[in-house]
Amino acid sequence: MAEAIQKKLQSELEKYQQMQKDVSKSMSARQKLEAQVTENNIVKEELDLLDTQNTVYKLIGPVLVKQDLEEAKATVAKRLEYINGEIQRYETLLKDMEKKSDQHREVLSSLQQEYQRAQGLAVGKV
């Protein structure tokens, strides 16, 4: 009885740890996205400061490719939107994962209690 509970406990623990890792991964991805958002915001603002007379380049690999100012602005705006959308997605994902991990935690704690009780009984019996 105690061993069965112990095994269950182990498996639950592993699942919980996996969940935690996923959660942390999503969190770091989200943080990266946040940094990108800020950066793109700055780029957008600086592009607004420029006028058409300046040439805008985009670095693609080792090549600087000339771009149109307007095009660049549009691209940056689109990129911003995309990043924001990604952030939202990650947020919902994170919330779900948090909930799941909470559930797992509860299961884990209840299992632990059972296990301890069983342990106590076993000790008593012995």
């Binding site: 950066e39 600086e46 592009l47 805008v56």
Partner: protein, 506 residues
């Protein structure tokens, strides 16, 4: 106690960890601030360079060639600057435009710096607080933990009802564990004063008194439920007789820590206060709660003062030389006698009588004009010599005002100390022996050294009158001092006015 100790041990650990974490955050903030300050410096040099670069069409410079070599060369196109806008975007601009971009970026850096500064300040403050908390829990500082143990719920419920801050400056009763330094000092003083008394407790006797107190408390509670007094005390104290029961100290509904509440409690009821209290000043009334549990010093944690609130009975606290509170019941009076506490009481209160109102003009007449006795004594003119007053309010009952009126109605030419307002029950007790009171001034009383309290409105005292009538408690002190003890103390609570008048006139 063990739990407290354990908690105390855990608290510093937790607090320590909290402090460490706070400090980490602060350090992180500082690191970031460093970084951003550097960036800002870089941008400023860049700006300077941009300003000076277009001055010449070309510059002669030593161009770095690999990591170890330089080569003489020229810097041309001094006004064309390719700026990295971020995210792999470049823009070719003039020096001036580049300058503008740099300014824009500097703005960002500054805002980031401000945020960091703010968070750092916040966390530094937090660190300070946690350090204080540590000091607190470690009892190293000057903090004293004041704890109150809450007594029975029933009493509290009843108290709560009574607690109505009817006056602007009356305080609602709170049972709070307060950690206020000023009060700490107060408590400290009081506690130290009480400490001596506590050491002198006689347990067996006190147990008896405690038992008596409980019984009285029960009595009063019943009365209260009967009467439904509203506390009209300036201090928002509980009105009633039930307040006496609180004196046990276990159920505190009235928080007297602020006190210099004027309610001098019938210390007599608290056995262990005993003579100790006599020496203490009125202001230590509130300290009576402390007495119940003497100030406790815990070596490893804050010195803690435990007290419980007890509702102070509203009694007229006129120090008329009698240091007893008029109690409605005989028991109380006896206890008062036994316990002789000096009361520098100033009546706080306004008599609180909830139930009895003047319903007919005759009531008014009875109260204000002594028709029966043929002695129409106007209220104002009642103030007479102190001895009379003291005799009247000798019991320092809060209903002294009512008592006075009653006396008046009964033809007493007592100096009406309208200052005293007492519980109805108290007033009643005083009413019992009006004549006796008159005849025997403070022969055995101490000199009056009380403070005069403002008069209570008549209306308030009127109900007292009606209530007082039935309650003719005997005041043991009075009996001792007075020649003519009055009606039986154990009279039923309600007696018709006429009967009471008759009794009084006897």
């Amino acid at each position: 106690m063990a739990e407290r100790n354990k908690m105390n041990i855990e608290v510093p650990q937790g607090v320590d960890r909290l402090r460490v974490e706070h400090k980490k955050v602060v350090q992180g903030c500082e690191g970031q601030i460093h970084h951003w300050v550097k960036v800002k410096g870089d941008y400023e040099t860049l700006e300077d360079r941009l300003k000076t670069l277009p001055d010449q069409v070309s510059y002669d410079i030593m161009v770095p060639f690999g990591p170890l070599a330089f080569m003489p060369g020229k810097l041309v196109h001094t006004n064309e600057i390719t700026v990295l806008l971020g995210d792999n975007w470049f823009a070719k601009c003039s020096a001036k435009q580049a300058q503008k971009l740099v300014e824009h970026r500097k703005k960002h850096v500054n805002s980031a710096l401000d945020d960091l500064h703010k968070t750092r300040k916040d966390f530094e403050a937090r660190v300070g607080f946690t350090e204080d908390l540590e000091k607190l829990s470690g009892a190293k500082g000057d903090y004293v933990d004041i704890r109150e143990e809450v007594g029975s719920i029933e009493e509290m419920v009843s108290k709560g009802k009574q607690r109505v801050a009817l006056k602007p400056h009356s305080k609602p009763k709170m049972e709070v564990v307060v950690k206020i330094e000023e009060e700490e000092e107060e408590e400290d003083e009081e506690g130290s004063g009480e400490g001596d008394g506590g050491s002198r407790r006689v347990l067996s006797e006190e147990e008896l008194w405690a038992r008596l107190d409980e019984l009285e408390a029960q009595e009063e509670q019943e009365e209260e439920h009967h009467r439904r007094f509203d506390s009209a005390d300036t201090n928002g104290n509980d009105d009633t007789t039930s307040s006496e029961e609180e004196k046990e100290g276990d159920s505190g509904s009235h928080h007297c820590v602020n006190g210099h509440d004027e309610r001098s409690k019938g210390r007599a009821f608290v056995p262990h206060n005993g003579s100790q209290l006599n020496s203490t000043a009125q202001s230590t009334r509130d300290g009576e709660e402390e007495e119940d549990e003497a100030e406790e010093e815990e070596g490893d944690c804050l010195p803690t003062i435990y007290f419980s609130h007890t509702v102070e009975p509203k009694k007229v606290r006129i120090n008329t030389g009698k240091n007893t509170m008029l109690k409605f019941s005989e028991l109380k009076e006896q206890k008062q006698q036994a316990k002789r506490k000096k009361k520098n009481g100033t009546s706080n209160g306004h008599s609180h009588h909830g139930l009895h109102n003047i319903t007919t003009p005759t009531d008014l007449y009875r109260l204000f004009v002594d028709v029966k006795n043929g002695e129409p004594i106007p209220r104002k003119s009642i103030l007479k010599s102190r001895s009379r007053e003291s005799s009247v309010c000798s019991d320092t009952s809060e209903s002294s005002a009512a008592d006075f009126e009653e006396r008046r109605t009964f033809g007493r030419t007592l100096s009406h100390d309208e200052n005293t307002h007492s519980d109805t029950s108290d007033g009643i007790t005083e009413e019992d022996s009006p004549t006796g009171v008159l005849l025997h001034p403070t022969s055995s009383f101490q000199a009056f050294s009380g403070t005069v309290v403002e008069k209570e409105p008549i209306l308030l005292s009127i109900p007292q009158f009606t209530i007082a009538l039935p309650a003719l408690p005997t005041i043991p002190e009075r009996k001792l001092e007075e020649v003519a003890p009055e009606a039986p103390q154990d009279a039923p609570k309600r007696v018709s006015k006429f009967k009471a008048a008759r009794l009084q006139q006897k």
